[in-house]
Symmetry: C2
Subunit: 205 residues, 2 copies
């Protein structure tokens, strides 16, 4: 089993540009220790689903109340023998039940330099609105392991991005994605996948 | 009065490396709209005082309780007709009395990317200890206008600095100084000095 790759599931809610960055990283070899085998959306019309299908990746849509959603999510991920779960613009907070089921196996990208502009209430454009309101000159993105505290898990990677004087939340969001999120997320996916592959190899030693 | 420079006072407590960066910036021309005319220390043995004297800058030491210190500080600064006050490793929080006496005229350098690791209790090595404890991969420095809230004033400049896996609070502190504080503080001093010179010119128009 030495050449087995880590099996990656990506959770999405929207346009899926971070998913695209992962798909591209797989094509280019930046992501080589893991393989995206499954994409889960909580929104039936997420464009991310089309990106996944175009790349030949199996998809599913799960909706419903938190309890319904999470029990369906866990059983689906387990059935697909998923090693690594990547939250890529996934707009739902996972409860401790899900997190504790995959300890150290779930990663999230946050569009700020944690501990700035993070925690509950800070998601999507709101993060960049808060950064501009405070007048920071440097922001960035963080990829971290998901634990029970919102944006509170161990940090894997961070990258700084300059704020321009004429930035709007939208222009800043775009720059943080392009200059940081799309670069960090594939690297973090590779880091965690490689670690899991090495752990599996040890089990077979 | 078109060629008048802004009159800068620097407040210090310790080794004075940030003061040295300002003195060097004045020599090199990075700081050209302002002139360091006065250095105030709240510690009689601060090495910063020797740096000031070596550069031919007038110095004074003010000690005592907060009320005593602050009233002496204000009268001394006023007597020297100070336009810009720079806190350069000054280990004392100025009360609202001092701040409101020089609105928008006091700048401080904080060894982190505000709003991370700032506010009361975060000073000196403690800032870097907190950054390493959280496991951030990027930190930096911030120069901001001092207002009534600790580290809460408008941000003038920020610069990111990489954290290394083997960093100690001491190695990180050194890198943040060298790569960010000593670069940002003279630039911010020039920005504020230039603004003040322009305001004075307008008064004479």
């Amino acid at each position: 089993m030495l050449n087995d790759k880590a099996r990656i599931a990506v959770l999405v809610s929207g346009g899926g540009t971070n998913l695209q960055a992962l798909i591209d990283a797989q094509a280019s070899g930046v992501l080589k220790s893991g393989e995206i085998v499954f994409v889960v959306s909580n929104k039936p019309d997420a464009y991310a689903l089309q990106r996944a299908r175009r790349a030949g990746i199996e998809t599913t849509v799960i909706t419903g109340s938190r309890t319904t959603f999470e029990s369906a999510l866990i059983s689906t991920l387990d059935r697909h023998e998923i090693d690594v779960i990547i939250l890529a613009g996934f707009m739902k907070i996972l409860s401790a039940d899900v997190v504790s089921h995959y300890p150290g196996r779930i990663i999230n990208v946050h569009p700020a330099l944690i501990p700035s502009f993070c925690g509950e209430g800070f998601y999507g454009l709101k993060v960049h609105e808060a950064a501009l309101a405070r007048g920071v000159k440097v922001t960035g993105a963080t990829v971290h392991i998901v634990n029970e505290i919102a944006d509170g898990g161990p940090i894997l990677l961070q990258k700084a991005v300059e704020v321009y004087p004429d930035d709007t939340p939208e222009t800043l969001q775009k720059r943080v994605m392009e200059k940081a999120e799309w670069i960090l997320l594939p690297r973090a996916a590779e880091m965690l996948s490689k670690q899991i592959v090495l752990e599996k190899e040890k089990q077979y030693d």
